[in-house]
């Protein structure tokens, strides 16, 4: 019968689709042997574009080393896997400080000598010019990003939410919520919305009762939450009207507002700031170029380059002065920056040491909570 052939064929086709959907990580298409290249890994979408425009292009121009892009969704999993397998495709990775510190402890990231950090454009010394706690043994600070929540003015037409607690208020704001499928920032936000003063958030989180309290708070909205995994999904959910409000990385909402003209509004109350760093995967055969790349990215001009495309605050004071308007649309950048004093009336700075120590446990607990 023909049909049994069809079944076999279809099974092969389906199996093929699955394989095709999962390309080997870091395989650089069309890389030829003569050309030098490194692979820089970040969160894709509008942020990756800002990095390319902001400093990848100038790095290639200066050194002749091509920069290949790879996307990931944060976390050390792939870095650990590559180092353990002894096959390092990735060279430079965008991570949060807590992740870099953990990766450093585990030996999956290279130590970076702080003497490679360049001086500012006016000769500012790096140790004075970087914002506090931006650099660690294995990580060089590049920016500050923020977890905020936002809504779509076209869909939420009533009185607008203004406080973090409104995100958890299903009575006044009935509708679905978008949240990142990760404990980071979500736990802090839930506690602050539950009335814990921001100075006490990590103390409360360190106790079993505090953890109970967080998950009880999250329980109140759990069945109304749409969980997203990639940063680009958050503005998408909002644009589609799939959720009434969503947490997001502030730059993604900025991008939708300014480049796509979406009627989104960011609520800065209770924003959770975090430090972003660049780190180098241990054992990369392209260490020398990776170090040059990190040095290039640590220049004030490079940070300002990113800051002129997406609303993430630079890690150096001297870079702040170089940022004025969006490179393409001419939008004033500072009103959108998370470290603008107007946006910092009530904010929390992520405690990276706490997350470095407790991140794995929180992820485990959060995953167990989600699965129930």
């Amino acid at each position: 019968m023909k049909s049994s052939g069809a079944i076999v064929l279809s099974v092969i086709v389906v199996a093929g689709c699955r394989l095709a959907a999962d390309p080997p990580p870091g395989s650089a298409p069309g890389s030829d042997a003569g050309e030098r290249s490194i692979t820089a890994v970040s969160y894709g979408g509008s942020y990756a574009r800002a990095c390319v425009k902001g400093y990848h292009e100038s790095f290639t121009e200066e050194t002749g080393v091509r920069v290949d892009l790879a996307d990931f969704q944060g976390g050390l999993a792939q870095v650990r896997a590559q180092v353990e397998a002894g096959v390092v495709h990735w060279d430079v990775v965008d991570l949060s400080v807590a992740e870099t510190v953990n990766g450093c402890d585990e030996g999956v990231l290279e130590l970076i000598d702080p003497s490679i950090l360049p001086a500012g454009p006016g000769g500012e010394l790096p140790e004075d010019d970087f914002l506090p706690e931006m650099n660690t043994e294995c990580g060089v600070g590049n920016l500050l990003f923020s977890s905020i929540f936002a809504y779509n003015r076209e869909i939420l037409t009533g009185p607008p939410p203004t406080r973090l607690a409104d995100f958890f208020d299903l009575e006044r704001f009935p509708g679905r919520r978008g949240m990142r499928r990760s404990p980071e920032a979500n736990l802090e936000m839930a506690l602050m919305a539950d009335g814990v003063p921001k100075e006490r958030v990590y103390d409360v989180l360190s106790t079993p009762e505090g953890l109970e309290r967080v998950f009880r708070k999250l329980d109140t909205i759990k069945d109304r939450v749409v969980w997203w995994d990639t940063s680009a999904q958050a503005p998408q959910l909002l644009a589609d009207g799939e959720v009434l409000m969503t947490t997001a990385a502030n730059g993604r909402i900025f991008n939708a507002q300014v480049l796509e003209g979406q009627p989104f509004v960011i609520v800065w109350d209770g924003q959770v700031l975090n430090r972003g760093q660049l780190a180098i995967v241990a054992g990369t055969p392209r260490l020398e170029d990776a170090l040059r790349f990190v040095e290039h990215a640590a220049r004030s001009e490079s940070m300002a380059g990113v800051g002129r495309y997406i609303a993430y605050s630079p890690a150096r004071y001297s870079a702040e002065k170089l940022i004025d308007r969006h490179f393409e649309t001419g939008t004033e950048m500072w009103p959108h920056m998370p470290t603008n004093p107007a946006n910092m009336k009530n904010y929390l700075m992520t405690d990276w040491q706490w997350w470095a120590d407790h991140g794995d446990e929180m992820l485990e607990r959060f995953t167990a909570w989600l699965a129930r």
């Binding site: 049994s4 279809s10 402890d105 585990e106 969980w227 589609d240």
Partner: protein, 404 residues
């Protein structure tokens, strides 16, 4: 060389291919579900010092000294983080204990060395308990010892929502941590539901195709196969477009006034989404075997039954249905087994309530890198499917499966 041997020789490339790409990795992974030497290799002195400990109170001074020495050395070499991760999987919370305390232990060691103090067992007992009182109790030591066992059942215990009791026996995990057994049940029920849904929808379709004139049958068959040839991802994301809140189906229902604009139905990112998308994706796997079996049933049987006085329903139930059973069996088994391993579709459209056990396996393979637990979950799933197959064989007989 005999013809049989030559024939076997022709199959050799396939055997080699399957061994290298399938059997080898599978055995390798399944081994990880009960063999885990990492902590034992990383802390050999600690493990040998803990071997004679009875599990009550605190272990010997030598154990304190060995642990401190190995923690401080591993910290220096930047390998302790990895070991701490492994121990944390056995007892949650151990990572922060080990990483935080070892930082202070390294400082204490440096101070003691400068002062010329001898760092023996008594010194470390006092120092470690001084840094963190928990080292004065049995819990962290039990965690270390458990993590240091090379041959272990802990991944299977965890996969079945059990844990080690303090007295060494087994007990069910606390309510908040019981996730895998409910997920196994959910996966089983969803797969069963999807299979039945496919059968209900697919049976009439297969019947229609099998009894159409060849030309029309070919067109209809093509309609079944066309989505089959489309990428799984494309089909799944198409359902997002259709079913989402502001999607086509909801827009249509609002437009005809069946529901209000604020009463849009949540059809995706939940169990409904998983059911709809999985049924759609798996439907051809049921239609095709059914069709091929139905093609082989001569229409004369049904005509004969009706001419002998059976009502159409009786004829269908007593004459036609039994003859299609091999196809039903093959299709259902195929659909069910495929459904039980599904994870891309639930991941995309299932939201949180629509996640299945495979999503958890994928999570442990890709994100938490707890391959031991992933392997244990996979082994249980494999065992379950094999068991079903055996039951099916006993009840129906596997030789009755027909693919036409």
């Amino acid at each position: 060389m005999g013809p049989r041997l030559r024939a076997a020789g022709l199959a050799l490339p396939l055997v080699a291919f399957v061994s290298v790409t399938f059997l080898g990795p599978m055995v390798n992974l399944l081994t990880k579900s009960f063999y885990d030497p990492e902590v034992a290799d990383a802390l050999p002195e600690t493990m040998s010092a803990l071997r004679d400990w009875d599990g009550q109170g605190t272990p010997s001074d030598e154990a304190f000294a060995a642990t401190a020495r190995e923690f401080v050395a591993a910290r220096e070499e930047r390998t302790l983080g990895r070991t701490a991760n492994r121990v944390n999987r056995v007892v949650s919370g151990m990572r922060s204990t080990i990483m935080g305390d070892s930082r202070e232990m390294a400082e204490a060691a440096a101070v003691a060395e400068d002062a010329g103090v001898e760092m023996g067992g008594a010194f470390w007992r006092e120092t470690m308990i001084g840094i963190d009182a928990r080292w004065g109790g049995p819990e962290p030591w039990r965690a270390l010892r458990a993590a240091g066992q090379r041959l272990t059942a802990r991944h299977y215990l965890k996969a079945l929502d059990f844990e080690r009791a303090p007295d060494g026996g087994y007990q069910r995990a606390p309510e908040a941590w019981r996730i895998y057994v409910p997920l196994f049940w959910r996966t089983f029920l969803v797969s069963l539901g999807v299979t039945l849904l496919c059968l209900v929808i697919g049976y009439p379709v297969a019947h229609m195709i099998a009894n159409s004139p060849p030309k029309r049958a070919n067109v209809l068959l093509l309609l079944v196969l066309l989505p089959f040839w489309t990428s799984l991802l494309v089909r799944t994301t198409s359902w997002i477009v259709l079913l989402q809140n502001q999607g086509i189906v909801n827009d249509f229902l609002v437009a005809i006034g069946l529901i209000g604009d604020d009463g849009r139905i949540a059809m995706i990112y939940n169990m409904t989404g998983t059911f709809v998308a999985m049924t759609h994706v798996l439907l051809p796997f049921l239609v095709l075997p059914l069709y091929s079996v139905m093609r082989a049933i001569p229409p004369a049987y049904m005509n004969a039954a009706v001419s002998l006085g059976a009502t159409p329903f009786q004829a269908l139930r007593r004459v036609y249905w039994p003859q299609t059973l091999p196809g039903v069996g093959a299709g259902c088994l195929l659909t069910f087994i495929l459904a039980i391993g599904y994870y891309i579709t639930p991941a995309l459209v299932g939201g949180q309530s629509g996640q299945l056990i495979s999503n958890m396996i994928a999570y442990h393979v890709q994100t938490s890198l707890n391959w031991g637990l992933a392997a244990a979950l996979a082994a249980l799933l494999l065992g379950g499917v094999t068991l079903l197959y055996v039951v099916y064989d006993r009840l129906v007989g596997i030789d009755r499966i027909g693919l036409g």
